[in-house]
């Protein structure tokens, strides 16, 4: 797994590539936590290059969503591939965290 984060115009973007599973989720959790340490209230996850997501990975995204809710902020997950999208739908997480097809439409949700 590769995880990168940047902050632009008050929006924290986190891109995750590869597999987000029990092995890689502790590292992802750490990066996400650090990325949210500022007072940001808008987070975008670019999951376009995410190949696999396990329940441990769902937990990382859920923690970020909960943190944003506490701050009354906004979070969006973008560009999920079919497999990852299906995991979201079957697990019911799509009703907890908004999903958009592209980063552009994700930006609109946050604006």
């Amino acid at each position: 797994m590769e995880i990168k984060q940047k902050e632009e115009n008050g929006i924290v973007s986190i891109a995750i590539k590869g597999r987000l599973d029990a092995d890689s989720s502790p590292e992802a959790e750490k990066v996400v936590k650090e990325a949210l340490e500022g007072q940001t209230t808008r987070v975008l996850f670019n999951l376009g290059a995410l190949e696999y997501l396990s329940s441990a990975g769902l937990r990382v995204l859920l923690s970020a969503a909960k943190e944003m809710r506490r701050r009354e902020g906004k979070i969006v997950l973008c560009s999920l591939n079919e497999f990852v999208k299906e995991i979201f739908e079957v697990s019911g997480f799509q009703s907890l965290i908004p999903i958009t097809d592209s980063v552009e439409s994700g930006m609109e949700v946050l604006s």
Partner: protein, 383 residues
């Protein structure tokens, strides 16, 4: 120089030259450990095997068997394999040192040595060895505790599956490490109805085991008859929301009416149930809308209930994602599609036969790649 050495620790000094041995003895007299000596290779092996010292300082050139061979033999025996060996030799070429280190020695000191250097290195290696032993012992202790948790956990599962009129059952439960987060249970309800629960705590090991045990306790303490699947799910969720964070629990609950052969299903993050229709010999995933897993937040929508009528020979199959997300050595997951195949195995089979077919198909796919998640499954076949 400060150190944490104690006189319960011992160092074996090996050299065929009495003067060298004496100098070494005097050098290390102050490190606080018991010092043992051997004047040749055979003597070193004998003392090491009996006394199991905490460190060995080993000369290389000796008349009987040389230090390399002593080291090789020490490393070949379980009891002495972990004792750190430091070579102490006049052979100062890089290739000598590399040879010694390749044999498993932790260090190599060239003679003539500086006493302070020897003391410093000895202290370092004694400390490393001590810490290593502590880690090992903590690891053993933890593994033992998890084994105990696992034993308790298995007692929480149904001891035997109930005999239901016209609906035969089989189940399978395996944990990837000692303790697991998967759970299944079956309760008898009024009027020949039965409640089936299968659940999976996110994560593994102790935290998952606690959630699993809690879900079991909550389910068994359900105050009403667990006849209304949506109410059961809301009840579990309400209670788990207070304790689960940052984790969660996926669950599927189904009420089977043995008189009507109907199944009413609610699903919170669990994989879709699978059905095998005997009439057309086909298996499929049942479209079954669900809600997010238990323990995240109360459901603000009505929990959807899916009802299905089963016919003679039909199979109802629920499982945790440890099966569908089992990987093989190539990094490929087993997947739902593959799981549907053994479920549709020869219609004359008993539930146990079908479960065996599923497990063997899965194991064949995974090969020797071990499971890294727990696996639970429950199967019922209508007579």
């Amino acid at each position: 120089m400060g150190n944490n050495n104690s006189d319960t620790e011992s160092i074996l000094l090996v050299d065929d030259n009495p003067t060298n041995l004496q100098v070494l003895f005097q050098t290390l007299a102050g490190v606080g450990c018991k010092l043992l000596i051997a004047k040749n290779g055979n003597g070193a092996l004998a003392i090491a095997g009996k006394a199991l010292p905490d460190l060995i300082l080993l000369d290389i050139m000796m008349p009987d068997i040389d230090g390399y061979e002593v080291c090789r033999q020490l490393k070949a025996v379980d009891a002495t394999a972990d004792i750190p060996v430091i070579f102490l030799s006049a052979l100062g070429e890089t290739e000598d040192k590399v040879k010694g280190l390749r044999l498993g020695a932790v260090d190599y000191i060239t003679k003539p040595f500086q006493p302070d250097e020897v003391i410093a290195r000895v202290n370092t290696h004694l400390t490393i060895h001590r810490l290593k032993r502590e880690v090992e012992s903590q690891k053993d202790k933890l593994a033992h505790e998890l084994e105990v948790v696992s034993e308790v956990q298995r007692k929480l599962l149904p001891k035997e599956l109930p005999k239901i009129d016209g609906f035969k059952l089989a189940a399978n439960y395996e944990t990837s490490r000692y303790a697991g987060g998967d759970y299944y249970d079956i309760v008898e309800l009024p009027e020949n109805r039965w409640g089936f629960l299968i659940a999976d705590a996110e994560g593994h090991s102790a935290p998952a085991a606690v959630l699993m045990a809690m879900t079991c306790a909550l389910f068994r303490a359900y105050p009403d008859s667990a006849d209304d699947p949506a109410a059961v799910l809301n009840y579990l969720n309400r209670h788990l929301c207070k304790v689960a964070e940052p984790s969660f629990m996926t669950a599927l609950y189904a009420v089977y009416d043995a008189g009507q052969q109907t199944m009413r299903i609610v699903r919170a993050g669990q994989p879709l149930p699978m059905i095998y229709r005997a009439s057309d010999k086909k298996s499929f995933e049942l479209e079954c809308p669900g809600v997010y897993p238990l323990g995240i937040e109360p459901y603000d929508i009505e929990v959807p209930v899916t009802e299905i009528k089963l016919m003679p020979g039909d199979r109802f199959f629920v499982y945790t994602d440890g099966l569908s997300e089992r990987f093989n050595a190539e990094g490929e997951s087993y997947g739902e599609e593959r799981l549907l195949q053994p479920l549709a195995t020869d219609s004359a089979s008993t539930p146990q036969d079908v479960v065996s077919a599923i497990i063997s198909n899965l194991e064949q796919f995974a090969g020797d790649h071990p499971a890294d998640d727990d696996q639970a499954l429950l199967l019922g076949i209508v007579d």
